[in-house]
Amino acid sequence: MFHASNNIVARIFSRQISSPRSGTSVHRSRQFYENLVPSYTIYDVDCPDYSFRKFTDDGQYLISFSRNNQELIVYRPTWLSYSCKGDDCESHGLPPEAKRFESYFTQLYCINLASGNESISKDFFLYMESNHFGVFATSTSQILDAPVTEGAIHGVPVIEKITLHLVRMEDGVIMDERTFRNDFVNLAHNSGVFLYDDLLSIMSIRYQMIYILQIRASGHLVDVRAIGQFCQEDDELFLNSHTQGFVPLDKGKQEESSICQDNSSMQLDQPTQGGAFLSGIKQRLLSFIFRGIWNEETDHSLRVQRLKKRFYFHFQDYVDLVMWKVQFLDHHHLLIRFCSVDGGMSRNTDQYRAFFAVYNMETTEILAFYQNSAEELFHLFEQYCDHFRAPSRSPLYMNFISSHSNNIHALEQLRKQKDACLKNKATNFSQLVKKTLAFLPFHCQSQSPSPYFDQSLFRFDEKLISSTERHRPSTEHPIKFISKRHPYSLKFKIKPGPEAGGVDGRSKRLSCFLFHPVLPFAISIQQTLQPSVINIHSVMNIHFRK
C-alpha cells in the first residue's frame, strides 16, 4: 500500500480510486478537514446585536436570541464568495461585504416566543434533525416563598410558568407547546430535558415526575407516560378503585384527606409527610435494593443482619432521595440520577452522595442502582461511554464526537488520568470515579460535532476551547490547533476578540465559539462589558485565472 499523502489533490485522487476500510467513511471524509482549515480570520464583523447561540447539528440554521430574550431569530448560513479579476489580486483586501454579517447569513425569520414577564432560556435548545423541529423553552422568574403544595418537594426553586415550544425551523411556525406551572425544570444547558429520536423526557424536580412526550411528524407533542407517582399507566386507576373507604395511617392528617365516594372522579390526597404510599418509582427502587441485599446471603439470620445494617439503617436516606436528572439509554430505558435536595442544589458534588438507577419504562423494573463512587459503573462508563451518550443517529457524524470509546487519543488521555490518580497518594480512586461520573446523565446535544474537535486530527488546549459549548475565559494569545499526525504542524489559530488585542487588559473576557458542523467556518464571540466582538474564521482560497 502506498503512503497516504497529505496533499489535498492526492487525497481527492485516492478517494476516486479506492474505497475506505469498512466503517471508516466518516474518518476518511474528515481527513479533508486537515487540508481545509478556518485559518483566515475576519475581525470585528458588523453584526446585529443578538446573542448567537448555536448552529443546528445539520448545519442548516443558526439560532440566535434578541437581547431582551423574547425573540428568536433564525439565520441560514451561506457561503461568501468573491472573485477579483486582474493581475494584482493578492494585494487587494477583501471587499467591504466580507465584514458584514449579512454576507454570511440570511435571516429567515424573527418570531416572538416569550411575552410579558417570560424570557427565553438562552442556554436551552434541542434540535430534532429528522423533521427540522427545534425545542425552545421560556420561563418566568423564580417565585420566592412558594406555598407548600401536595406532592411537591421543598428546597428547590419554583418557577411560575415554564413553557416548551416546538418550532418548525424551516419557517418559524410554533407547532405545539407544553406548559408546566409552579414547577422546577432545570433548563440550564439542556439539563432537565433529553431528546432521543422522537422521545422527549422532562424532569420535573419539584413534583418528582418524569414526563415522556413523543414528537410526532405532524408537530404535535403527545403524552406517552408520566413516571414518578405512578409507574404503569393504570396504577392510578387501580389504586383509586381499591382505596374506597380507605383510612389514612397517619391519624393526625385525617382531616386533610378527602375521599370522594364518586367513582368517576376519585381524589386521594397524598399527605406531604408520612404519606400512606411512597411514590411508585421509589417503591421500585427500595424493593430492588432490598432484594439485592436479601439475595446476598442464604443464611436467614445473617441476611436479616445485613438488611438491618445496609437497608433499614439508611431507609430514611433512601426515602429522602429525589430524582434530579434523567436521560434515555434507549427507547425503553432511562438513566436516573438520585440525590438529596441539598446535593442537587449545591455546586460541590464531592460533598454529597448521588446515586444512579437504570429503569425500564416498559416493565417498570429497576435494573441497576449504583452510588456515584461505584467502580463497577465507572468501568462500564470506561468501556461503553458512547452508549451512555445516546446520540441521535442522524446525521451520521453525531456518532463520531470524540470520546474515549471511539478515539484512541481520548482513551490514552483517560488512561493517563487514571494512572496519575492511582500513583498519587493524595487522591484516591473513588474521587476520580466521582469526578468522572459527575457528567452522568449527559446533557443532550451539548457537544459540537465539528471535525475540528476530532482528537485524531487536531490537538488543542481543552481549557480554552472544546466541543462542549460553554463560555470560557479568553486569553490574549490565539488558540492553536496543531495536527495530531505527521507533520505535527500548526494548522490554524482561532483568536477571539479584536485584532489588536483588548484595550483594557485587565477586564475579564469570556468567549464562546460556534463551529459549523460541516463547513470550515467558525464564529468566535467575545463578551465583555461593551457590546460583543464577533470574529469569523473561515477558509480563504485564492484562485487565479489568466
Binding site: 446476598e296 434507549d330 437504570v358 441497576a368 463497577e376 462500564l380
Partner: protein
C-alpha cells in the same frame, strides 16, 4: 497474434500468448471449481435465524448484572452459566428464512 488484452504494452509480449480472446462461437469450457461438503456436521439447524440483539451492549451488561444480583445464591457446585447467544431458535414460522450460508 492478438492477445486478449489487445495491443497494450506489456513487459514481455509472450506473457499472454496462451490466452485466446473469448469467441462466442466457442464458449470457454472451463468451469470454476466448486467445493461440496462431505459431511453435514456443521450445518445450522433448519429454523435458525441470526439477528441483531435488540438491546445495546451497555444494557445487556446491566441486565446480566441484575440477573446475577437478584438470582438467589446457590451452592458453588450448581454454578450455572447464563445461556446467552445471538442465535435463537424460532418456532416454525410460515416464512422461515434460509439458514445463513
Amino acid at each position: 497474434m492478438g492477445s486478449l488484452l489487445g495491443n497494450w504494452p506489456s513487459y514481455d509480449p509472450h506473457n499472454f500468448s496462451q490466452l485466446r480472446p473469448s469467441d462466442p462461437a466457442h464458449p470457454s469450457k472451463l468451469t470454476p471449481a466448486t467445493y461440496h461438503p462431505t459431511h453435514n456436521r456443521t450445518l445450522p439447524p433448519d429454523n435458525q435465524v441470526i439477528s441483531t440483539e435488540a438491546t445495546n451492549i451497555l444494557l445487556r451488561q446491566f441486565y446480566q448484572r441484575a440477573e446475577e444480583k437478584l438470582r438467589p445464591k446457590r451452592a458453588a457446585s450448581e454454578n450455572l452459566m447464563p445461556d446467552h447467544g445471538c442465535k435463537q431458535l424460532r418456532g416454525s414460522n410460515a416464512d422461515d428464512s434460509k439458514p445463513y450460508e
